[in-house]
């Protein structure tokens, strides 16, 4: 009987891991992807949808069309995992046995955690939210625009900065910038989590006349007064408020007692195995690793998870290790972008924003569907930054 691998989640990490396993082990393996929607969503596109630069149609595809023909897809919610018995319970009854389990469950938005957030703030972390924000921007006639995050960790760390810089451009194009104040609310002492990226971004904010409020950890939104209040005791008035909702790990991780206090999976930083369960692996947004929660992270982790499971099934010692590699683009507006390439040992040294990186991001957006889920972009594509790399 072939070995059973169950992959929870049909996003970047789950899809790529399943496809690589099917390719490496063929008929010696039975892989099932379990996903509650059966749709694969390209989340980086939400930013462009919110700003009217893309419609929603190219942002989602049927997961079945992206999977290797030998991979099964169960369009089902997983409700509980029993790591000792090696089973996953499904919402409509029945269970799937596994020899190895991959948790690619992503993150969950929990906007209700902040009072007033749902009624008072916009977001672009769901397609519905992005399209609603697009309509609000179309009706905007000038005023105070506040952009921030309502909790850490959150997906795609550059996104709030990107939105801030791109909304500045959007308002200039519509002749509304002189009637508007744009401010980025940061929970930290700087604009961005990574210091080197902050040093690049903050002068751009200043040059564009964009305000920066640091140490602003959102506590509450008052939609009737049009104010947002911080844990630090400050209040800011808005006409348009855009806040990334707080995130948690998925409910199935929490109900199965496989996560930490935030619902994130305790994950070995190199092997990507669950720290308490050797037959369970995790990748992407679901982990507790101190890395960007982004598709890029999942993209670089998936080959490691697939390789380690394939080795274990063949009875050989797993050799693949994850070095913390991430590569993200960061749009800076005006048709320019930079790139953040880093790993556990090397912080990013972002290049000066240019049209090249903007074009690269757009090319990636367009090529995504036919490359990343199938593993057609090799994981060792570009050096992080060779000049700064320490000798091995």
């Amino acid at each position: 009987m072939p070995a059973q691998v169950v992959v929870l989640g049909g996003g970047v990490g789950g899809t790529l891991t399943a496809n690589l396993l099917a390719r490496q082990l063929g008929r010696n393996l039975h892989v099932t992807v379990v996903d509650p929607t059966g749709m694969h969503v390209y989340q980086p596109g939400f930013l462009y949808a919110a700003l009217g630069k893309a419609n929603g149609r190219w942002l989602a595809r049927d997961e079945r069309t992206l999977l290797h023909r030998q991979v099964d897809l169960a369009v089902e919610a997983a409700t509980r995992i029993d790591p000792d018995k090696g089973t996953v319970q499904l919402a409509h009854g029945g269970s799937l046995p596994f020899d190895y389990l991959v948790l690619a469950t992503g993150a969950r938005l929990i906007p209700d955690e902040i009072p007033g957030l749902v009624a008072g703030a916009h977001e672009f972390y769901s397609l519905q939210g992005a399209l609603r924000l697009r309509e609000a921007l179309r009706g905007f006639r000038g005023g105070r625009v506040l952009v921030g995050v309502a909790g850490i960790p959150y997906k795609c760390p550059p996104a709030p900065v990107e939105f801030t810089l791109m909304v500045d451009q959007y308002l200039r194009r519509r002749g509304l910038r002189d009637k508007s104040q744009v401010t980025l609310l940061s929970p930290l002492s700087r604009a961005f989590t990574i210091e080197s990226a902050s040093k690049l971004i903050q002068p751009i904010l200043t040059k564009r006349g964009i305000g920066l409020e640091t140490f602003f950890n959102v506590e509450e939104v008052d939609p009737s007064a049009g104010t947002v209040r911080s844990l630090e005791g400050e209040a800011a008035a808005y006409d348009l408020l855009v806040l990334v909702p707080p995130h948690r790990g998925q409910a199935v991780i929490e109900t199965s007692r496989l996560g930490d206090a935030g619902g994130w999976v305790p994950t070995d930083r190199h092997t990507l195995a669950h720290r308490d369960h050797e037959r369970i692996f995790a990748l992407g947004d679901a982990t507790d690793l101190p890395l960007s929660k982004s598709g890029s992270t999942a993209h670089f982790e998936a080959p490691v998870v697939a390789s380690r499971i394939a080795s274990l099934l063949r009875g050989t010692a797993p050799k693949a290790n994850y070095g913390g590699r991430v590569m993200c683009f960061l749009e800076t507006g005006d048709g320019r972008a930079t790139a953040l390439r880093f790993d556990y040992e090397h912080p990013p040294v972002p290049p000066t924003p240019s049209r090249f990186w903007h074009a690269a991001k757009w090319a990636f957006n367009r090529l995504y569907w036919d490359t990343v889920p199938q593993g057609r972009i090799p994981e060792r594509d570009l050096p992080v930054h060779d000049a700064k790399r320490r000798p091995a």
């Binding site: 929970p187 002492s189 989590t193 140490f215 950890n217």
Partner: protein
């Protein structure tokens, strides 16, 4: 002088910036006024970030103690 007891210890050693600060902020959110929280951090950025945040948020930084390979920050929730 009476020793001020610590109510909660957050061991954030090994966490990269902004992990230790965000752990402290999360604990402050969940605790009652008067609670004393101690954060252990091995990240160098905490030396500036944690005192700066405590001052901005109007809490009390009771003491900063250098240990072998990490720093202990003791903070009282003041409001």
């Amino acid at each position: 002088m009476t020793e001020i007891a610590t109510d909660q210890v957050i061991d954030a050693r090994g966490m990269a910036c902004p992990g230790p600060l965000m752990s402290l902020i999360g604990a402050i959110r969940q605790s009652q006024v008067g609670t004393v929280i101690e954060v252990w951090s091995s990240d160098q950025g905490s030396a500036t970030d944690i005192p700066a945040w405590v001052a901005k948020a109007h809490h009390d930084l009771i003491e900063v103690v250098e240990e072998d390979g990490f720093t202990r920050f003791r903070v009282r929730k003041a409001r």
